[in-house]
């Protein structure tokens, strides 16, 4: 059993800042010692008075003044390097679109040694011949329609594409892709800022 609890310890006791064993000792003592319990009463009253202090009303909005004093965000600046990267990327995009466009135009007329129309036609014919005899008239109709379309489209012409080995295509596309990614990573690069508590 402790003798008496000093005011400093009582203050820490009210703050719940004492270790558990000391808290238990103080509580046991306060229960048995009217003098110490009496000295605790004004401290409790002070805590209550501080806790009861009402908030003061704020009569004006402070945000207007704060926002007026905050520095304006600087306008984004495009550096010469970024300009060069934009230009290279635009050129890459143009070249890629040209290649894709040329391939798209060429495919219906030449697909190696066999035309795409022939491949498609064969596919449809094979599919239709597997149907029952009831579908024969439909097959004929479809064939006629297809052949009519073929007659029209076979009169169209498109520039022949220069034969380029597949490896060259892959190399060119991979190089352009790498250039594109490198450009974007340069453009999106931001200085990392360390975050930690003050």
């Amino acid at each position: 059993m402790i003798d008496h609890v000093d005011d400093s310890t009582l203050s820490e006791y009210l703050d719940a800042a004492l270790p558990p064993n000391q808290t238990a000792e103080v509580e046991a003592h306060l229960a048995a010692c009217p003098d110490c319990a009496a000295r605790l009463t004004p401290q409790r009253a002070l805590f209550a008075a501080l806790n009861a202090l009402p908030d003061e009303v704020l009569t004006r909005d402070l945000s207007v003044g704060v926002l007026a004093r905050l520095p304006q965000a600087p306008a984004p600046r495009i550096t010469p390097m970024a300009r060069a990267i934009f230009a290279i990327q635009a050129l890459c995009a143009l070249i890629l679109l040209s290649i894709i466009g040329a391939i798209g135009l060429q495919l219906p007329f030449s697909f190696g040694n066999v035309s795409l129309r022939q491949v498609l036609n064969q596919f449809i014919m094979d599919a239709l011949t597997t149907f029952s005899a009831d579908w024969l008239s439909l097959q004929n109709a479809l064939q006629n329609a297809w052949r009519g379309g073929v007659t029209i489209t076979s009169q169209l012409t498109a520039p022949a594409i220069v034969a380029i080995p597949m490896l060259s295509w892959i190399t060119v596309l991979a190089a352009m892709g790498a250039l594109w990614i490198a450009g974007n990573s340069l453009l999106l690069r931001h200085p990392a800022s360390a975050r930690k508590n003050s």
């Binding site: 004004p42 401290q43 003061e56 402070l62 945000s63 704060v66 004093r69 975050r195 930690k196 003050s198």
Partner: protein, 158 residues
């Protein structure tokens, strides 16, 4: 910002005791917080952080000026809340609050700051020590002496 401005203003008002100055310091606290936003841990609540910033700013302001006897702002009575119900009880509460504010403002700056952080911001001793850059033993002694002075002032008032 609007969510926190009342509490930040009240931190400044309790520490400075003058409405206009408290408003200016509350604005200053938000600007300081904006400038040091990179030191704020986003995983922790913003309110305690900005209030701590405000308390430190006010403490710096108090330490920078010569000690003077601070009178409570007279404007407070005009803008304070009017309680509904018993006018005598409302007056009693208002007088009690005024006495507590006056007692707080009579404390030396560091004592005022530890009381603010402990009683109104509910910081632990260790957190107060960190916020005010004081040893833990100083926090305990400041708080103890501040409470003793407050109790004496309030007893004298009664």
């Amino acid at each position: 910002m609007r969510s926190y401005q009342v509490s930040v203003f009240n931190v400044c008002y309790r520490l400075l005791g003058e409405r206009r100055e408290a408003e200016d310091m509350a604005q200053e606290a938000f600007i300081r917080a904006y400038e040091r936003l990179n030191t704020f841990d986003v995983e922790r609540p913003f309110g305690p952080w900005i209030r701590r910033v405000a308390a430190n700013l006010c403490l710096n302001r108090l330490e920078a000026r010569p000690p003077v006897h601070v009178e409570l702002d007279e404007e407070r009575d005009e803008t304070g809340r009017w309680e509904q119900g018993d006018p005598a009880r409302a007056r009693e509460r208002a007088e009690s609050a005024e006495a507590v504010r006056a007692a707080l403002l009579s404390l030396p700056p560091h004592y005022r700051a530890v009381v603010e952080l402990r009683h109104f911001q509910d910081l632990s001793y260790a957190e107060i020590a960190e916020a005010l850059n004081l040893p833990l033993s100083d926090v305990k002694s400041h708080l103890f002496r501040a409470r003793k002075l407050l109790a004496e002032k309030l007893q004298a008032h009664d």
